[in-house]
Amino acid sequence: MTARSDGLQRFLLGLVGIGLFLGMWQVIGVYRLAGLTWPPLTDVLVFVADPSKRTLFARAITASFIAVVTGYGIGVIAGIALAMLGRVATVLKPGLDRLIAVIHAIPLVALAPLFMVAANRDSTPASIAALGVFYMIYVATTSGLNAASAAHRDVFTALGASPVTRFLRLELPAALPDIVSGMKLAIPVAFIGAIVGEWFGASRGLGLLMVSAMQNFQIPLLWSAVLIVTASSLALFGLMSLVERLTYGRYQ
């Protein structure tokens, strides 16, 4: 009972905190406390909802979302597949780990020139997103596949389960919570990859919109583009947190 009211209190305080933050944003904007480049929250929201801007935003959002979704999808599939490969074919594992370490050591920006020549400029955002997501998922899946306890593994072996059965019935379900956690953490990474990729000369997208608005002093447009990106990243992150909680409830 006290735990519940404690949680409720914390939740309400958190809401108040977020409300205070949004209120401060509005006040700073209305009274120009941070200069002309900080618009009130309501101005930004009105700008986003403005029907005359709809095609502009729709084009940019579509381009960026395709990059995010493609990159995320490729990254998740490749990450899980390679982690499983390392699990099944143990000879390959050291080489895989070394490759992942090398990829991780390279800052995502440093790969941009490579993608620009190897792919074309419009697929750079998805490629960079895919690479960042891939790293996250590979690490999460690898640690997840080790999560099944040795005792469970012994039970399966003693009862005559084949390695394939053991993998499908024991190790994969045991890895699911870690994989889902990795997928949650990979969401902001996918957005970062897509935006950074767009900065390297994509022809459309929210990242491009941000930079051109920044350079041309289109303050409401700049804040709107940033708001759309952060809000969608947070919304998807929240959704994955929910999935994560369900997975933990079911598989742990």
């Binding site: 200069g35 970062i192 930079v211 990243s233």
Partner: protein, 252 residues
């Protein structure tokens, strides 16, 4: 002879992934018929590195300093706010959810806004890195301050430790391992944020070199910058790992 084969086998098992990528790259260049202007050969990249070592070193040093100063400021800010939140239940309730939300925001999306707010300046670059480091530090150190070893707080009370003593001898040391986790997570992000800030608005630094080189299609320079950026990131990461190991040895 068998030693050589064994050594070769170990080398292949460790590096087959990296080798496969290089072979695929080479094959892809040959098949798609890209010419050398678009994709420079490794030799020409190294030639460019050797032709202007001073330029590369100066810009790398600047990026490193921006990342380092920003990291220090961000860590300090995060620690201070975590301590404030620890001391006050009300502030903790108000700030922790906000901190959690902001630590999940793709920080690079905020760079254009911060650039516009603070002006195109090296101080702005440092501020961007500091903001990227600030939120994860706040969240992790805050969690560390509250995750005391079970029973330890009671022990301190039983022996009559004052609030100050408990804070200095128990709570503060308990948060140090979490601080190191925050440092490990934010250090690569600091380098990335520094390079991106320079890319968008800088007049020097590795990010600026990227923009300048890819703007005039000087791909040797762009690839050279990639290599230097990777080395800078690896050095930064190595320093953090060394610090973490030292702290772990002291704290276990």
């Amino acid at each position: 002879m068998s030693g050589v084969i064994k050594g070769l086998g170990r080398f292949l098992s460790n590096y087959w992934g990296v080798i496969a990528i290089l072979v695929l790259w080479e094959a892809w260049v040959n098949i798609s018929g890209l010419n050398a202007i678009v994709l420079p050969s490794p030799a020409s990249v190294f030639l460019d590195l050797a032709s202007a070592p001073g330029l590369y070193a100066a810009n790398a040093a600047q990026t490193f300093i921006v990342a380092l100063l920003g990291l220090i400021l961000g860590l300090a800010g995060g620690i201070i706010l975590a301590l404030v939140a620890w001391a006050s239940r009300l502030l903790n309730g108000l700030l922790t959810p906000l901190g959690l939300i902001f630590s999940c925001v793709p920080v690079v999306a905020l760079i254009p806004i911060i650039a516009r707010l603070l002006g195109y300046d090296m101080r702005t670059e440092i501020a961007i890195v500091a903001i990227a480091a600030f939120f994860p530090t706040f969240v992790f150190v805050g969690a560390g301050l509250r995750a005391l070893p079970p029973g330890s707080d009671d022990l301190f009370r039983v022996f009559g430790a004052s609030r100050t003593q408990r804070f200095l001898r128990l709570v503060l040391p308990a948060a140090v391992p979490n601080l190191m986790i925050a440092l490990r997570l934010t250090a690569p992000e600091a380098i990335l944020a520094a390079i991106l800030a320079e890319l968008l608005m800088g007049k020097s630094g590795l990010g600026f070199m990227f923009r300048e080189a890819s703007g005039r299609f000087a791909m040797e320079r762009a690839f050279g910058t990639s290599i230097i950026a990777t080395i800078t990131a690896v050095i930064c990461f190595g320093l953090v790992m060394a610090a973490e190991r030292r702290v772990a040895a002291r704290w276990q």
